[in-house]
Symmetry: C2
Subunit: 373 residues, 2 copies
Amino acid sequence: MTGRLDDEPYARAALTYLAEPADLRLDALVRARGAARTLEAIKAAPATAADPAARRAMARWQVRLAELPSADDIAGFCKAGIRLVCPGDPEWPVRLDDLGHASPYALWLRGSADLRFNCLRSVAIVGSRAATAYGSYVASEFAASVAARGWAVVSGGAYGVDAAAHRGALAADGVTVAVLACGVDVPYPAGHADLFDAITAQGVLVSEWPPGRTATRLRFLIRNRVIAALASGTLVVEAGRRSGALNSARHARDLGRPLMAVPGPITSDLSAGCHTIIRDWQGTLVTSAADVVECVSPIGTATDRAPAVLGRDALDLEEAAVLDALPLRGGRGPVRIAVEAGLDIDTVFRCLGALAAGGFAERCDQGWRARRA
Amino acid sequence: MTGRLDDEPYARAALTYLAEPADLRLDALVRARGAARTLEAIKAAPATAADPAARRAMARWQVRLAELPSADDIAGFCKAGIRLVCPGDPEWPVRLDDLGHASPYALWLRGSADLRFNCLRSVAIVGSRAATAYGSYVASEFAASVAARGWAVVSGGAYGVDAAAHRGALAADGVTVAVLACGVDVPYPAGHADLFDAITAQGVLVSEWPPGRTATRLRFLIRNRVIAALASGTLVVEAGRRSGALNSARHARDLGRPLMAVPGPITSDLSAGCHTIIRDWQGTLVTSAADVVECVSPIGTATDRAPAVLGRDALDLEEAAVLDALPLRGGRGPVRIAVEAGLDIDTVFRCLGALAAGGFAERCDQGWRARRA
């Protein structure tokens, strides 16, 4: 992000200021011309296109041109630990491509965890803001338990089920990902400022909106598709019949990802949405964290194994090559590992996931390193 | 039941004294020779058959010959309102034939309700003896609600879910059928003596065992297949992982009848069996009595209609003929109705069911009568 107009990452950052996510007209322009030329066109052109819809789109982007960040703003973001990830970057979660034309232009991140790697083995745990004691208990227990098994917990940072899920993962020293409907520097809800600080230290905050943006009702709905697309599968813990969590569940189903729900008393309105998912949406009824892991694992691979029960003999050739490329002290970035191992970056990420799950490798501040046996 | 040896009903009654239900060897003999000749053979033959299994069977029946009822005993049963129903009798529920070689030899009944007719539209509601407040509440609410819609409630007369289901149906002025694992004159459990009296007045007690027999653990298990076979479908409200209710559920599934379960908190051991039914046995998750009625109704016929919303024009020719054969005062038995209407007895039962459901006909002490519009 150098701030020059021909810089694609800068242009993508700028577009997150000018357009709301999932603006299909903007997506079409960026795919056709690239982000930098699209931004240039928005800055230069008066809204005079023949097509009225195209004119309206140009106009709605142009009204926000004054909001573009200055060089000082961007320096401030860097100082605050905020980073931008764009399609094609090593940390970009390729799963988001499943969203097609509604895929984010870019993501703003804040936190120590690698988004792409952690999403490879992750479960979205979502549900009602007004969770009952039952829902909060189940969300935090399941989150702690899947996190202890090496799965990241993705949620929305809201009160109720979301907060219980994040806290459960943090308590188990796991990684948790909060996908926000506001800027990653905006503590919304305000009561979660401490929670977001903890997630920044041990996980990552994610947003499609630039720093400073506030949440709106519509933004929560638009955000939900990203939660479903980032995670290996989505679990709904408690949800009323019209809960926003059902919106996330529908995205998971539409993406063909495993969809799960926790049953509850039929006398509780907050379990009605879960029962709908099980009965009418073919969601899997889960009653334990082991059920969840089984559901999101590729067939035949679900295990409750503790780290490092595999011998090195169980590694395939690529995994062994990546392990050989890892230092025992300090750390090494994925690109460097790819060069060392002679493998492409996607294979390196797959192998790092397998090695971490098997207890052979671990993340550190400098990238990755081998774990002593 | 005249007490003569060549009397098939008497012989079937006698066989319920000599053999436990579902004795496949006895079933084979009765099918081959009839009940009277089978009884005669048991009374006459020393246990000298060449086949050791046949010899052992004969011996186990003969040890109980001293328990056969006297003519006085039988007169006493009649006086106590106990009746015997055999295969082929108008009140015999033909659904039991689905049990094949494990079908009962005969059923002992006590109570005002017609067993066959009421089972045509019936739901078995079963579950744990140690039901929680949640299970008892759901069982009684669902039972009252399906009974108010004209469906009989079948259960096992035990503490917990069974009792709540019977009581819910009674409270809604509905018909309830208790299938016991002891004689219909044995108040077991003793605390249910009042409940059994109420069921006798407004429903019917059913047993494969003759009057006086006490319940054993094995008899409860053998009895469960009759609950599943009598009802249009089976609903499990609360059941632990090893509950006897799962045994009934398995019978319902094996018979191809609709199987339903009520979800509950995953933190409750008594809902674990229900979750197993939903997830692993393809049972339908139900959250309301309307769900239950929809599940047990033939496709497209489930309605929440109140009685008598249909006009006479909606009746088919056979239903209209049966309605014409019903008196407005007093009552008429099904055989007499069949003669009047010129229809076979099975068609008459089907039509009476439809007419009762539509509010055109009702049962009374003397049989059936038309309801005034």
